[in-house]
Symmetry: C2
């Protein structure tokens, strides 16, 4: 696919928001607009997109062979080991009044560019690219659905696998392997949090051996054909206690209510509130201490955030996670997550894997 | 280990360079100074280190359980989903005249902090932390040596493995698995570039099937106990042609000359020149288009860079790669890499795996 149309949409948006030049480096905006992903290394890669001029991709000479050329969309400007990439970017930028710079650009490059372009005001790149990325088109929803189905398959397979006696790290590696087997180009993360470790929502898999009766939280995702997956499913070794089953029933209801609430026109914060009120009513309010979800697309976390204070109404094509949780310190943690796309026909849940608590050996 | 002494050294350095407050987020400076690695996500994690005050680690509430507390070194300030972390950091920073901000901090946070601290001048965090990280102490050299020996073991094992008929991706995954088996906490990269793909120094492993006669470049490394490994070894399927063997002999000599040149007091650029002149004399000058090496420590690439134009003389404890290459477009690529530490007793080569071209099946 040619990225020229997307670059043109970016130029139109630059006109709307009054930006003279867009500078993009590491992060998802660059592959979104050019197909090329910068290496997160100390040699600067940067797309220079003037509102009224040709786009140029400034790239380290030894990484230039990785770029798939699109002569209709951008020119490639390789720089050699003894050149100064900041000077090259500044020259291509001209004398801009307002610069938008990619959100994840390293501080060292931001500061150097501010010095090299002393007349310019710098603003966030998401003012330009964020608006484009927010509404997914049909091809993008298809890509998200394919990625979701791949992790659905992994989740289904895990229901038949043994957990007891294995370390979290071992299960983590199996998740990573299975994501690759099911077509992911890159696993992004695989949280495996068993027993009390589950009470830390972003727990790193560790040497802890999973035992009888343990609740195991598996939250994993990756990138497939440029778009991200993200799913959380819950496992328990042996029959769950009534306490676990009851808390899980609350969580499942909360997730369902948030899903049903995610209709076009509903503010993001109302989707959050739908999940939160179910959990609070059951007495677990303080045990759900994170937002209900995040946008997803070329990036694992992006706008829109499903959080109190975000009054943005959902539009068709907004894609996001719905992932309430209940965390009991020192005991266990529960979370249930699907990716949902807002659509005129109602919320479209991309994940189909069973949402029941899986009883495993 | 307590990180209080390192924080004190940072404060001393801040005094020397006239910095009032140091702000660190994602990247290696934060774990170097606190033991904590920020998640590279949209929720801000930031260490606020005033030159004359207490250090505070501002961290998302749901990531706070990941922090190992060190009350003698820093206070933890968790922020909840509805708080503004920028305002919290700005309040802790006070009214600084000069701020140093971590090199990899995301642009969105740099811009927001510049707005929140309008009276401050922002400079690069490496002015403070870079100087500390440059000279490795005995414990750090030990950690680098352990990481080097782990990838040495992987390189040795690969000499006995079949390559023909396998995809680059398959070999890539084996390298990743073996790094984990040999104690790495995290594989950082594993380049497998066969035949003509080898001519792109940063080639991504692909579906290409390795065939008879192919030269295969394997460049891999990861993190072990917080310190990085990085090694490149060369493989050939079946007996190498005279052309390959001759070019490899040139490369091996170039790498050896650079190693011998890496004595305390020698400028970094002279180490680069030592490798480059051997390769140029053999007629391959234009085929070695990257610098000879990069520093290594808690980060895979850091100061000092072994590159033309860097006149910094090597000091005891400087750790860096020596990795010349010869790349023949459309044919094959060769590179040979070890990690070396400058020492009064002469250059200390951390990698011991055979540097001979490995003939494999």
């Amino acid at each position: 696919m040619s990225h020229a149309p997307r670059l043109d949409r970016a130029r139109t948006r630059m006109e709307t928001v009054g930006v003279d030049v867009l500078l993009l480096s590491v992060g998802a905006d660059l592959p979104y607009l050019t197909g090329y992903e910068a290496m997160p290394l100390e040699r600067l890669t940067m797309l220079v997109l003037p509102r009224d001029g040709e786009a140029t991709l400034v790239v380290p000479e030894l990484e230039a062979p990785r770029v798939v050329p699109e002569p209709d969309a951008f020119t490639i400007r390789p720089w050699s080991e003894t050149e100064d990439p900041i000077a090259i970017v500044a020259a291509l930028a001209g004398r801009p009044g307002r610069v938008a710079i990619g959100d994840r650009t390293w501080a060292r490059f931001v500061l150097a560019l501010q010095e090299a372009l002393p007349g310019a005001t710098f603003g966030p790149g998401r003012d330009v690219v964020g608006a484009l990325r927010l509404r997914k088109d049909a091809a993008e929803v298809l890509a998200l659905r394919a990625a979701a189905h791949a992790v659905d398959a992994v989740a289904a397979e895990m229901r038949t696998r043994p957990f007891a006696g294995r370390t979290e790290l071992d299960v983590h590696r199996e998740l990573v392997d299975r994501m690759l087997e099911h077509g992911h180009q890159r696993p992004n993360f695989a949280i495996v949090a068993s027993g009390p470790n589950g009470a830390s929502p972003h727990h790193d898999p560790a040497a802890r051996v999973i035992g009888d009766g343990d609740v195991v939280l598996c939250d994993f995702g990756g990138t497939m054909a440029g778009y991200c997956s993200d799913i959380t499913r819950m496992f328990v070794v042996g029959e769950p206690t009534a306490e676990i089953a009851d808390a899980y029933a609350v969580l499942q209801l909360a997730q369902e209510e948030a899903f049903l609430a995610a209709t076009v026109g509903t503010p993001c914060e109302a989707v959050d509130a739908a999940a939160r009120s179910v959990i609070a009513d059951a007495g677990f309010g303080p045990n759900f201490m994170h937002r209900t979800g995040h946008g997803i697309g070329v990036e694992e976390h992006e706008d829109p955030y499903i959080v109190a204070g975000n009054a943005t109404p959902l539009e068709p094509g907004f894609a996001f996670s719905i992932e309430p949780g209940i965390y009991l310190r020192g005991r266990f943690g529960l979370r249930l997550e699907d990716i949902v796309v807002a659509a005129e026909s109602g919320p479209d849940r991309l994940n189909c894997a069973s949402r029941d608590l899986a009883v495993v050996g």
